[in-house]
Every structure is written in structure tokens, then in C-alpha cells.
């Protein structure tokens, strides 16, 4: 029988305490408050045996410390690193803490950088670096005050360690568990002091992840694993042409499939509900559907490129200007190049899915979501229920990569569930997942530069592409500039006296676009670092030396460039058809240099032999997680560079599964070295940095191996095999 997960807390790694505490905190905070420090109900909850000084911490009389995670765990290790940040300042014994997914609440769990409850842009550590530590420190201060009152001593004469308050001179101890009731009556400090980095006990240590034990034994619950009692299973198909509608449906054969319960024909999609996914899938395949393809049925990839190329003839908006670019470009010998990136699907291993139970008086939603409050809101809007009647149970995410920043999967599932009596799990086939994504936009970058004395004198970078921000975070789109689309271009690290960055918004016809791991910097780092290599070649300088000479004002990047090239054996002899390529970047506030080593055979097949990466990401919370994110991010970027391309014909996506939308596999994966630099600077972001680093490093390595410059991804093996011109 299906197990019943309605009584447990999906996404939680613990047996949860009541959600009431947190929900009340939401009401008390009233919105807009990052931290619910001054929460007047703490005493009342202490009666129930829980000390809940803020929205992130609950300590029970049994000593259990539950830490509520504001960000979604999608593999990046945030449950562990955020728990480390809270536990560090709380001085909690780390083996006593358990973590739990936060409920939807933009008020309590807003990401301070993004302004809503969202996990993305590699900013979980940066955004919560101060707030979570303050939450831990504030709770700790209340526990110390409670112990001091018990002992009738000055709180300043007490210290804490391992979930205990200790009186310095007498050595008396009180466990946090014993202080739960009294601590709730203490006044929360307005601005509790934080530890100096030198006093960190947890931060900086490669602690074991909290989420992984259940991920190796099959117990971890992802969105797709929700099994409320009586659940039915559905799969669906939207019109394969973007924007198309359902025309006519003959469901006779589908209804004859054993286990099929319902065929639902909506305006834009058809869903089949059954006793299990096999019935639903077979039922969907048995439907005879005539689509009303609408106005987009003639769109092709070629048309998309024609439009974006034409748009790039406009100067667009100026995102940044320094010096006199036009004069500088007129003075020297001018070089130009165009770089292009294709549409990409996200293809998380867990296909899009959502389980929903709609009732007249309420609604439950189970999903893995990077924007929990938006997920709840869309369900409320569709059902007409007030927000507090929609229970949104966020689950672990089987990969996010930006795909689960969108709520389209939740929206479709709720619309299906509104027509089903009882809970229904809506699971997209992989083909539906690939063909109805919101795609990484195509980009068309024109770079123009002039050289003087072996350095860059003038630089114009014109970025043309879709603005995801304008749709997703409109306040981030100002003066016709998308802050993300120009990220890592306006803050290019090289010392260039005359520099201009232009942005031209160009939306592709009909194809929806979304954030994709690496976001704007993916495009800009590829274009800039490829062009830097081309300019180095023009000057006759070594690509590393050429870059290094212009990094005097960014010593952190210069240092990692030195380290990466030294570790990679830059300049050492290589066999024929093997080359090394370098890329340097400041992205997501981290400083990273990467060397790729690749071999290209006569057929144009590329084998990536080795990736060496040096990273200065400031203070590191969990160094093992940082290394893992770089390793995985590099693979993600290499996958895109080697294989990734979504193409359009007849208004529909031509790829559908992993046979034609290929992923790098273990036999293709290179050796990867990641070298972390000790740093006392503020933490940077890391989850997307490997993805932005890999493609230009690889393209430059291919150039070093073959003399062929690839300016468009994915790599074209026919060009490398000499079958067609570059």
C-alpha cells in the first residue's frame, strides 16, 4: 500500500514538531521582517516544551534542536551549511541538530538579496551570512540569560559550548534542554554580537552533510515521492507547439486502458489520471489528440537566430561606460568577434512533478520548489482559497538548476487536481519535461576591442538576449538593463581604460526563457574569456600572461590564476592534438581561475582530460561542499559545451529525452582538481561558478589543441574535423 506521508513533514529529515510555532511566528512578524527576534509568543510555546526564539530555531525539552531551513535543498548542501551557520553562533552540538524545510513565507524566510523566498543566484550563504548567525546568537544570549538568572550570576560570567551554558568560575553547567522554559521569558537581544572568525568551531570545517544518509538508502523524500493516502497518478501533455491549444480529443482507446480513471481535456493540455503512472502513461499514448497549433507553428531555430542577430544591430541600453570607448576603438587596430550560446533545457534528474489534494475547504501541495511562497500563492489563486488554507509541503529537490524557480508545474498540477476527487500526483514524462521547459535563452554577443602596447585600450561588449529578470523579478530590470544579463560583464576584472557594456533585450519568438545554472555570467564569461584568448593571440602573448598583466587591481583573481596555472602545469609540453585553455572570472562574488586540458581527435571528438580550478570564495562555511559544487558545476558546464542544445522546428522542441539531449557520463568525465585559497573576505557564491568557468576554458583548450576557434556552443565536431569552416 502507498505509505501515508500526510502526517509527516515532507522534506523534513526529522520527525517534526508542530508547524504551529513557525506559522505563528509568521503572523507575529507581520511581513517584511528578516528575523522574528521579538516574538512575543515564546513563553506560550515554552509551555508546550519548545523554545522558539525566532523562525529558524526550536529547542525542545528533550534537547532536540530543530533548525528551519529558509532555502531549498537541491543538492548544493545548503541544509548543512545553513545549519552550521546557525549552530555556530548558537553553540549547539552539531550532532544534536536536525533540519526541516521552511513553510512558504515571504515574510519570515525572504532571501534578503532577492527580496522573496527563493533559492538561486548562488547567494544562499551570502544572503543569510549575517541573519542566520544573528538568529543563532540571539537564541544563545537568551539561553545564557536564563542560566545566569537560575544561578543568580552575571550573564557575562557565563559561556556556552556544545548545547550547554557554563558558569566560568564555578564550572556549573545547564543543558539548553533544561533552560527551554525559562529562556522563553528572556528578552531577545536587539543586535547580538557575532563571533570573530578566529573563534569559529564549525564554520570552515568539512562536516558531513545532514541530508546524505537518507539519500543513500532510499528514504529521502523528493517531490515525486509524496504518497498521500488514496493518491491517484496522472501524466499530461501540453500542445507541442509553444502557445498552442487542444483541438479535438478522442479518448476512446485511452479509457479502455486498464487502470485509467479519468481523461481530462483542458484548454491547453490533456491529462490522464490512473491507478498508477503506467496506466496514466499508456492512457496518454492511446489518446488521439488534434492540436490547435496556433500562430507559432512555423518557428525554427534559424528564425530565432535571424531575429536576435538583427536585434544586435541596435546599440541597446548602456549598462556601463568608462572613458572614451569610441575614440579608443578608432585609434588602434580594431578586432571584433561574435559569440553565441544556444537554448538549453534544465533536465534535472527528477522530472517536473507535483502532488495536489484540492478540497472545498483547503488544499495540500507537495513539490520540490525553489520559490515556496510563489508555489503556495499560485495554488491559492487557482483554487480561490485563502493562503492559509493552502498547505505547501516543500520536499527535497532532485535537482533545481533554475527549473524549480518556476511554478508552471505546480500550476498545471493544481488545475488537474481541481478536477480529481482526492489527491493526485502529476508527473511529467521526460519528453514533456524537455519540451515544455523555460529555456536558457540564446545569446548573441558582439565584442569589439582595440590593443595598445600589448594591452586592451578600448572595449565594447554588446549583449543581446532575452531578459528572464524582466519577467521573473521585474524590479531588477531598470533603464532597459537586465542586471543579471550584464553580470560579470559590467564588473569585468581586467583593467581596461575605455570600456562600454551594452544590453539589447531581444525575446525569442514564442520560446519561454528561464534562469539556468550560471545565469547571465554563463554567457558573459564565455564571451569575454574566449575573446581574451583571441586578443592574447593578436598580441603574441601567452594567454595567462596577457590576462595577468591586466589584473593588477584584482589581486584575488591574479592569485588564483597563478595557483591554477601552476597546479595545471601551464606551459609544460603536451602530446599532439592536446591543448590547455584558461579562463578567469569574477562571478557571484567569487574569484576563480580554471585550466582545461583537452584532446581533439581527427573526427572532431573532444576528450576532456583534466580540469584544474583555483578558488577564492572568501570565508568558506563547508570546504568539502565548495569542492563538490565546483566539481559538479564544471561537469554541468562541460555537458553544455560538449552536448547541450535545444533546437526548434515547426514551433516545437526537437529533443525529448537523454538519447537526443545528451548529458556527460562518467566515461567522459575528466579528472578534476579544486584548490581552495584561504581567505578572510566575506563569503562569495559557489553553486554556479563551475558552470560558468568550464565552457570558455574548454573552448580555449580546443583552440590550443587545434588552432580552431569555436565561437558558438555546443562545440561543432564537423568544424573540428575540418568538414566545414569555422
Amino acid at each position: 500500500m502507498p505509505k501515508d506521508s500526510t502526517t509527516s513533514s515532507p522534506g523534513s529529515l526529522t520527525t517534526p514538531l508542530s508547524r504551529r510555532v513557525v506559522l505563528k511566528a509568521g503572523a507575529a512578524a507581520g511581513g517584511g521582517l528578516l528575523l522574528g527576534f521579538h516574538i512575543p509568543f515564546a513563553a506560550a510555546d515554552a509551555v508546550a516544551g519548545v523554545f522558539a526564539p525566532n523562525a529558524f530555531i526550536r529547542i525542545g525539552r528533550d534537547g532536540r534542536i530543530v533548525l528551519v531551513m529558509p532555502q531549498a535543498e537541491m543538492g548544493q548542501g545548503v541544509y548543512t551549511s545553513h545549519a552550521m551557520m546557525l549552530a555556530e553562533e548558537l553553540d549547539a552540538a552539531f550532532d544534536q541538530v536536525a533540519v526541516e524545510a521552511s513553510p512558504p513565507s515571504d515574510a519570515l524566510y525572504t532571501n534578503p538579496i532577492l527580496g522573496l523566498q527563493a533559492t538561486g543566484n548562488s547567494n544562499s550563504i551570502r544572503a543569510f551570512w549575517i541573519p542566520l548567525r544573528k538568529a543563532g546568537a540571539g537564541a544563545r544570549a537568551m539561553l545564557v540569560a536564563a542560566a545566569a538568572q537560575t544561578w543568580r550570576v552575571d550573564p557575562a560570567t557565563c559561556h556556552t559550548e556544545s548545547s550547554q551554558v557554563i558558569h566560568d568560575s564555578s564550572g556549573r553547567k545547564l543543558a539548553y534542554a533544561a533552560l527551554v522554559a525559562l529562556a522563553a521569558h528572556m528578552t531577545p537581544p536587539a543586535d547580538p554580537p557575532l563571533k570573530a572568525a578566529a573563534d569559529f568551531k564549525l564554520i570552515g570545517k568539512p562536516l558531513k552533510r545532514l541530508d546524505t544518509p537518507d539519500k543513500v538508502n532510499g528514504k529521502a523524500l523528493y517531490g515525486i515521492d509524496a504518497m498521500p493516502t488514496g493518491v491517484k497518478f496522472a501524466t499530461l501533455a501540453a500542445c507541442p507547439v509553444f502557445g498552442g491549444k487542444v483541438g479535438r480529443v478522442d479518448d476512446g482507446a485511452a479509457k479502455a486502458v486498464p487502470g485509467v480513471r479519468q481523461v481530462l481535456v483542458l484548454d491547453d493540455l490533456v491529462a490522464v489520471v490512473g491507478d498508477h503512472m503506467w496506466a496514466a502513461k499508456q492512457g496518454l499514448e492511446a489518446l488521439d489528440i488534434t492540436w490547435d497549433e496556433g500562430p507559432n507553428a512555423a518557428i525554427t531555430t534559424e528564425e530565432v537566430w535571424r531575429q536576435i542577430k538583427a536585434a544586435s544591430d541596435n546599440a541597446g541600453a548602456t549598462a556601463k561606460t568608462v572613458g572614451d570607448v569610441d575614440q579608443a576603438l578608432a585609434d588602434g587596430e580594431k578586432y571584433e568577434a561574435v559569440y553565441q550560446l544556444p537554448f538549453l533545457a534544465h533536465a534535472p534528474m527528477e522530472p517536473i512533478n507535483c502532488t495536489v489534494h484540492v478540497r472545498p475547504d483547503g488544499c495540500d501541495v507537495w513539490a520540490g520548489c525553489q520559490v515556496q511562497a510563489r508555489g503556495q500563492a499560485i495554488a491559492a489563486k487557482l483554487t480561490g482559497l485563502p493562503l492559509n488554507k493552502v498547505q505547501f509541503h516543500n520536499q527535497l529537490l532532485g535537482g533545481g538548476f533554475g527549473r524549480r524557480l518556476e511554478t508552471d508545474g505546480i500550476e498545471k498540477a493544481v488545475r488537474v487536481a481541481q478536477r480529481v476527487n482526492g489527491p493526485v500526483k502529476v508527473v511529467w514524462t521526460r519528453e514533456e519535461d524537455i519540451r515544455h521547459d523555460l529555456y536558457r535563452p540564446v545569446y548573441y554577443d558582439r565584442l569589439t576591442a582595440s590593443l595598445k602596447d600589448g594591452k586592451i585600450a578600448g572595449w565594447n561588449h554588446r549583449i543581446t538576449g532575452s531578459s528572464v529578470v524582466a519577467r521573473w523579478l521585474p524590479q531588477g530590470y531598470t533603464n532597459d538593463v537586465d542586471f543579471d544579463a550584464v553580470d560579470s560583464a559590467v564588473d569585468i576584472p581586467y583593467d581596461i581604460p575605455n570600456l562600454r557594456v551594452q544590453y539589447v533585450r531581444s525575446e525569442p519568438p514564442a520560446v519561454p526563457t528561464g534562469f539556468w545554472r550560471g545565469v547571465g555570467p554563463n554567457n558573459n564569461v564565455f564571451a569575454i574569456e574566449s575573446f581574451m584568448d583571441e586578443l592574447a593571440k593578436k598580441t603574441g602573448k601567452d594567454p595567462v600572461a596577457f590576462r595577468r598583466d591586466m589584473l593588477g587591481k584584482v589581486p584575488r583573481l591574479q592569485a588564483v590564476l597563478d595557483l591554477a596555472t601552476q597546479k595545471a602545469g601551464w606551459g609544460e609540453a603536451l602530446p599532439p592534438r592536446v591543448g590547455r585553455g584558461v579562463a578567469a572570472q569574477v562571478a557571484f562574488a567569487s574569484f576563480i581561475a580554471t585550466v582545461a586540458e583537452a584532446e581533439v581527435d581527427e573526427n572532431g571528438e573532444v576528450s576532456v582530460r583534466r580540469m584544474v580550478c583555483a578558488v577564492d570564495t572568501g570565508i568558506v562555511v563547508n570546504p568539502d561542499t565548495v569542492v563538490a559544487q565546483l566539481q559538479g558545476g564544471l561537469i554541468f558546464g562541460l555537458t553544455a559545451a560538449l552536448h547541450g542544445e535545444i533546437t526548434i522546428a515547426g514551433g516545437r522542441v526537437q529533443q525529448g529525452n537523454f538519447n537526443d539531449y545528451r548529458m556527460m557520463r562518467i566515461n567522459e568525465a575528466p579528472e578534476i582538481e579544486v584548490h581552495l585559497v584561504d581567505s578572510g573576505e566575506a563569503p562569495g557564491g559557489i553553486g554556479e561558478t563551475g558552470t560558468t568557468a568550464a565552457p570558455p576554458a574548454l573552448a580555449n583548450a580546443i583552440f590550443a589543441a587545434t588552432g580552431i576557434r569555436l565561437r558558438k556552443l555546443p562545440i561543432d565536431r564537423d568544424i573540428l574535423a575540418g568538414k566545414k569552416p569555422a
Partner: protein, 178 residues
Amino acid sequence: MHIRRVYFAAEVVISAQFGRAADGDDGMITLRINGEARNIDGPGDMPLLWALRDILGLTGTKFGCGIAQCGACTVHVDGKAVRSCLLPIGSIGDRSVTTIEGVGATPGGRRVQQAWLDLEVVQCGYCQPGQIMSAAALLAATPNPDDTDIDSAMAGNICRCGTYVRIRAAIKKAAQSG
């Protein structure tokens, strides 16, 4: 030595090996899963994946592609790694099925799970049940695999998070601890 091309046709072999269930082979089917006899009320052509997940509630085995291209659904049938998304339940008979929920009860499976934790292989974790099942089957057949053995056995399992470097190291560690 760096170019290791693997043309993995294993999936094709797997589906041919078991064949399709005969039409009309519906009704209650009994399978031996993780050492227990389990009754499944479903058609014989239903892939094992959906019987495990949707009927038995064994959700550790994952759906990734449905066409044996990603390996997320890998289970053991008589100790061999098989993609459950294409394996009809009517074709299994009295062969023994082991899933991620049961593999820890075997010494080899336990070693692989421990190596996965020791080296902190896992990121999102969605593909890892399949990776672990493939690795455990590899080690059962080849106790000390070299890189080529690992490529052959593991190339059918995609990890979108890109944990391949650690998967390779963890298989070697598990082999050494055996």
C-alpha cells in the same frame, strides 16, 4: 588512456533478455522483493518501476527517463543491475528483486553506501539509488574494478549534479574495504 569510449548497449540486452509479458497476463503477480513475497495487483506488462513506486510505495527507486537511458531506476534482479523502467513485472517470475531499500542488507551494498557517505558523493541524490545499485552489482561481479570496468558498469547512470569524480573514487574505496 584518457579517452574511454563506452558504447553501452546494456539496456537493449536487458529488455531482450526478459522479453515482454504475454497479453492477458493480468491479475495478481507475486514477486520476491528484498527477501519478501509481495503481491502486485497490476498488468503483467507494467514495468517494475511503477509497481515498486506506485503500488508498493517503495519510492527509493527513481523515475528519470522511462527509456533506460539514465539509470535512475536501476534495481538488481538476481544480483544483476537492471533498468526497472523497461522490465515488465510479468517477466520476472521467481527471480529475486533487490531495491535501494534492501541493498544495505547485503555486505556489498552496505560497503557501497558507506563509501558513498565517507567520500560525500551525494548532491541532490536523486540518481544515487541507481548509481549505488549499479556500483554494488559491479563490485559483486568484479571485486577490484579498474577505470575501464567502472566506465562500462556506470556509464548508463547519469548524474546531472556531476558527482562522477567522487563516484569513481567511492567505488574504489568500497572495493578496498571489501
